[in-house]
Each structure stands twice: as C-alpha cells, then as structure tokens.
C-alpha cells in the first residue's frame, strides 16, 4: 500500500457541498460516492442530485435523517438514475419525489457493498484504493468546534450519527490519518475536510463502511 493516497489528486472527487440546516448527510455522502465511482470508471466527474436522493429514497427520512446503506439499497433495487444536480437542485428541505423520462441522463449503480472494518483499517485502506471513496458513519459530536489538525481524542465510537466520505489517507508522518470530506461547507474544518487518526477506530470511522459498484 502506498504511504499516501488521495482520490483528489486524480481529480476524482467533487467539490465540498453544504447541507445547511437539512439533516441529509447520508444522502450527501452516498451521492459523493456515486460521483467519484462514476468518474473512476472513466466518465466525466460531475455533480449529481442530492435532492433526488432526499426526496425519493423512501426508506429514509429526507432532511430528518437517514442511512447510507438504505440509500444504496434504494438506488440499486429501484435502478433509479441519479440526474445532474443542475436538473434537480438542492432545496434544503424534503420534497416530493420527481420522476424523469427514461431519456434523461442519469447514473445508476450495479450493486453495493457494506463492511464493518473496525480493527481492520489496513483492509479499509485496500478497499479505498481498489473501489473508490467510501461512505462512512461516524460519531461527529465533537466536530462542532473543529478547525484543523488530526482528531485523536474526544471522539469515541459507538454513537454513529453523521455520514461523511473517506477520500484518502496519509501515513507518511508521525500520526497516520484518514482524509475525510464533510458536507458542512468550506468554511468548516480544513476547507470542508477533516483529518482523523488511523488505526484505532477514532470516531467509529471503520464501523459502517459502504460504497456503490458501478
């Protein structure tokens, strides 16, 4: 495994989004994984509709919360095509599911995987490199005040409450860390990103890992 790996270096990660007061981090992280996975397959990197997932993933609760895995299940089982974000823009509130004609451009998935990798973060590195950015659910209570640096303390596992995207890692320094994309805008953290210490399941980062198959 390389000492450092970051899908952003290959221009395969879209820009940081802002979920505002809508509690749909689960939809943001899943759309992020689909955007990257589609681009990794050689297609253009483009922003897809988070609002479509919020409105249409019927097993979830829109801006009142949801699960990354049930969103992936909905995408796969319904074979829904995620349209461009410009076609179905983010409104920061749950709305009625809008359907599009079959001729409308969209991205669907061929499957999905979900892993529990606590104690196996070396395996998680491998999955990240082989499959693309990973949607994870973490305990982010202590992230409210985060400005930068590597989170190593005050972030326990066992109370997963926020979905984000792991895009890379860096083990070249004294403290190895995961590079994690959030959906709270670029004025939070390191231009919208957070670094989390690797190897000890800080924030429960390896507890609930999921990604689509394209």
């Amino acid at each position: 495994l390389p000492l450092r790996f970051d899908w952003r270096d290959k221009n395969l990660v879209t820009s940081v989004k802002n979920q505002m007061d809508c509690g749909a981090c689960w939809a943001f992280s899943i759309v992020d994984t689909v955007e990257s996975a589609y681009a990794i397959k050689g297609q253009p990197l483009m922003e897809l509709s988070v609002q479509q997932v919020i409105d249409c993933s019927y097993m979830d609760n829109g801006c009142n919360g949801g699960s990354t895995l049930s969103a992936l299940k909905w995408l796969y089982q319904s074979q829904s095509k995620l349209v461009r974000s410009s076609v179905y823009p983010f409104k920061s509130r749950t709305g009625s599911c809008h359907y599009f004609p079959a001729t409308e451009f969209g991205v669907s998935i061929k499957g999905y995987k979900a892993y529990e990798l606590s104690g196996l973060e070396d395996e998680m590195m491998r999955v990240l490199i082989h499959n693309g950015p990973l949607a994870v659910i973490v305990d982010a209570l202590s992230w409210q005040d985060y400005l930068g640096g590597i989170i190593q303390h005050h972030c326990s596992s066992g109370h997963s409450n926020h979905a984000v995207l792991v895009v890379g890692y860096d083990t070249s320094g004294d403290i190895p860390y995961w590079i994690v994309k959030n959906s709270w805008g670029t004025s939070w953290g390191i231009k919208g990103y957070v670094h989390i210490k690797m190897g000890v399941n800080i924030c429960g980062i390896a507890d609930f890992v999921a990604y689509p198959e394209m």
């Binding site: 209570l141 005040d145 590597i150 005050h154 709270w184």
Partner: protein, 86 residues
C-alpha cells in the same frame, strides 16, 4: 464579527440576540477546554466556526441525523485471513 463572517442572521428582538451571544460564549469556553488536551502541533484544534452560535444539543439535533442500518447488514471480513494477508 461572527455574524458578518458566517452570515448568521437573527430575528430582531434583542432578547434572542442575547441568548445567542450567551451560547456563543459557552462555545468559546468549550474551545478552551478542548484545546487544553493538545499535545503536539499536529493535534486537532478547536475554535470559532459556523456552528459556534449553536449549543451542543442544537448542533446534534440539526446536523447529526444519520444512523447505521442493522449491524447484520454489514459484512465483517475474516480478521485472521486479513492479518495473514497483511
């Protein structure tokens, strides 16, 4: 300055503004506490950001709304095999 930088807007009544300011001051105290645990330059640091006018309860209620599916839905790889491979 916080309102200018982060674009926060509050309703007109002064009482509400004062309540927000009180929450903001509590956040500043929390930053001092968290930064007290820093041991090296690389450690995480905490301070004023877009959420500093929210209490921890409000922050959790608004922004932490995801939950995992059933534990059984997640595959646990064989740890022995994985370690042997490593």
């Amino acid at each position: 300055s916080f309102q200018e930088i982060f674009g926060s807007k509050y309703p007109a009544p002064r009482r509400l503004l004062e309540e927000r300011y009180k929450v903001f001051l509590e956040s500043v105290e929390r930053h001092k506490y968290l930064n007290g645990f820093r041991q090296s330059a690389g450690d995480a640091f905490y301070g004023i950001n877009p959420f500093s006018d929210l209490s921890a309860e409000e922050f959790s209620h608004i922004h932490l709304k995801s939950y995992p599916a059933m534990k059984d839905d997640y595959i646990v790889p064989n740890k022995t095999t994985s370690r042997e491979n490593a």
